[in-house]
């Protein structure tokens, strides 16, 4: 097989898997069958495309093949239920193929699939796993690996989730208007978690975990396309793009952390930053502010072309964010921003307002922020003590090495 065809199948897999599964779930109401048929369709593509050439519209081709598989399967099982399914599948073929004008396929079922996967009646872990399996097409072993749980545990989680969808009657539908805001927030939360899981691994060599950032951005873009009037979806994608744009510059060749103001800007992904800006602009024009848009606006300040970072603006944005979703982490970030524009004393005063034994008692960045402000004030022994506390709490080797360097500077 030529590399071209393999690449085409791989690209279709990323681009079309979710759409094929979503359509099959709608037609058959059987999630396992839908996945099986989608798998079959991609296997068939690998077999036929080298011989027959790549179809003009790979997505439609794959969906048609998967649909025929579903009909075959319904014929094989002689249950009454399956008979009904067969009829549903056959009947649907007439109304949802290619439009006469040759445009895209009419219904896009991925949005329904997303809302079903992220239904609040499922545990958050199940929502995440189901989204990766059905929409992103990751395999169960890959998902298990990405979330560092045994494969059997992840398989069981997926089985239970699908069983609950069936038994509890979780609908395959976009929620009605009065539930839409809350349920959209749930979908975006799942995507953001995927991104963060991938981002926290993005300095490592773990390819599967790293791929989560790309999957999250891909799913986010799909939501933006399907819900163009949802500013928080645009805000989330912008936020992810701004972070992702800097991932190559975040660590140096030794795997050591490079702080933002020391990063090599030529290694930033300017196309991603540009797309992020455009999406954030579109979100802002919809005039319904939300936490993702504010976080994206903060991230935009950090990647701005300006010579100096506008910390005063960032502090104001953190004020807005804190008013929307008060949390100790946001209070900490606000304190850091204030320390940058008003001076370390003002920052320290704000840090004193955060309970050291509260939500953040195990969070190394709280003592690290304090250490940094104390260092800037020349209070070296206090700074060293705070760096040591941060060092003890840090979770990764890269973080520990960074804090060690700072500790050495403070005590030199």
């Amino acid at each position: 097989m030529t590399a071209d065809v393999e690449a085409a199948v791989a690209e279709s897999f990323h681009a079309e898997w979710g759409r094929v599964v979503a359509t099959l779930v709608r037609l058959t109401s059987d999630w396992d069958l839908a996945e099986e048929c989608a798998q079959d369709a991609f296997a068939t593509a690998l077999e036929r495309w080298p011989r027959d050439g790549i179809p003009r519209r790979p997505g439609a081709w794959l969906t048609t093949v998967a649909r025929h598989r579903a009909v075959d399967s319904a014929r094989r099982t002689r249950l009454g239920e399956s008979k009904t399914r067969e009829v549903a599948v056959m009947a649907a073929e007439s109304d949802d193929g290619v439009r006469p004008d040759g445009g895209e396929e009419v219904p896009d079922d991925r949005l329904r699939l997303m809302f079903t996967c992220c239904h609040p009646a499922l545990t958050f872990e199940a929502q995440v796993a189901l989204t990766l399996r059905t929409l992103a097409g990751m395999t169960t072993p890959e998902i298990a690996h990405a979330f560092l749980v045994p494969e059997a545990t992840m398989a069981q989680r997926l089985v239970r989730a699908k069983r609950k969808i069936r038994n509890a009657g979780i609908p395959f539908a976009v929620p009605p208007p009065h539930q839409l805001v809350e349920r959209t927030a749930a979908v975006l939360a799942v995507i953001y978690l995927l991104f963060n899981e991938g981002y926290s691994a993005s300095s490592g060599s773990d390819v599967v975990r790293r791929s989560l950032t790309a999957e999250a951005i891909r799913l986010g873009r799909v939501i933006c396309a399907l819900m163009p009037d949802e500013p928080e979806a645009l805000g989330l994608v912008a936020l992810m793009l701004f972070h992702d744009a800097r991932s190559a510059a975040r660590v140096d060749d030794n795997g050591d952390i490079v702080v933002l103001n020391e990063q090599d800007r030529t290694r930033w992904d300017t196309a991603a930053i540009e797309e992020g800006r455009l999406r954030l602009d579109s979100a802002t024009r919809l005039r319904r502010l939300g936490p993702f848009q504010v976080q994206a606006a903060i991230a935009a300040c950090h990647v701005s072309d300006a010579e100096t970072t506008d910390w005063a603006e960032i502090a104001i944005l953190y004020d807005h964010l804190f008013a929307m979703t008060p949390s100790a982490v946001i209070a900490l970030n606000r304190a850091v921003a204030v320390s940058m524009c008003e001076g370390p004393e003002a920052g320290l005063a704000l840090l004193d307002g955060i309970a050291p034994d509260g939500e953040l008692r195990e969070y190394h960045l709280l003592p690290a922020a304090r250490a940094d402000m104390l260092r800037r004030l020349g209070r070296r022994s206090e700074a060293a003590e705070a760096y040591r506390r941060a060092f003890d709490l840090a979770g990764t080797d890269a973080e520990r090495r960074y804090l060690e360097r700072r500790l050495l500077e403070a005590t030199a």
């Binding site: 009646a121 038994n167 509890a168 009657g169 979780i170 609908p171 539908a173 009605p176």
Partner: protein, 115 residues
Amino acid sequence: MRYLLLIALDESASTGTPEEDGQEMQPEYAAFMKDMAERGVLLGGERLRLTSDATTVRVRNGETLTTDGPFAESKEQLAGYFLVDCKNLDEAIDIAAHIPGAKDGSIEVRPIWEM
């Protein structure tokens, strides 16, 4: 689909003696019942006596064991139920959220195992 909506409330929070408390249906419940009748989803529903009147039955090794009290010890007790027939879980959740007891207790939504 049919769903059983189980109303769990803290019994100790109710005022008055078990006998005189709520002899008449509370107006919120009357309004809820009327709404549900109009929606055509209500198949049945009852208020339950307190858990002090409950008996739990288990059969172990062929022997019937009868104990005083409800099956689950928790802060909230089963206070009543509604049986509804509606389109899907989203509609059931929507109805559950309209039950007055959802405000100070909790509602468990259980799909009926259709045989």
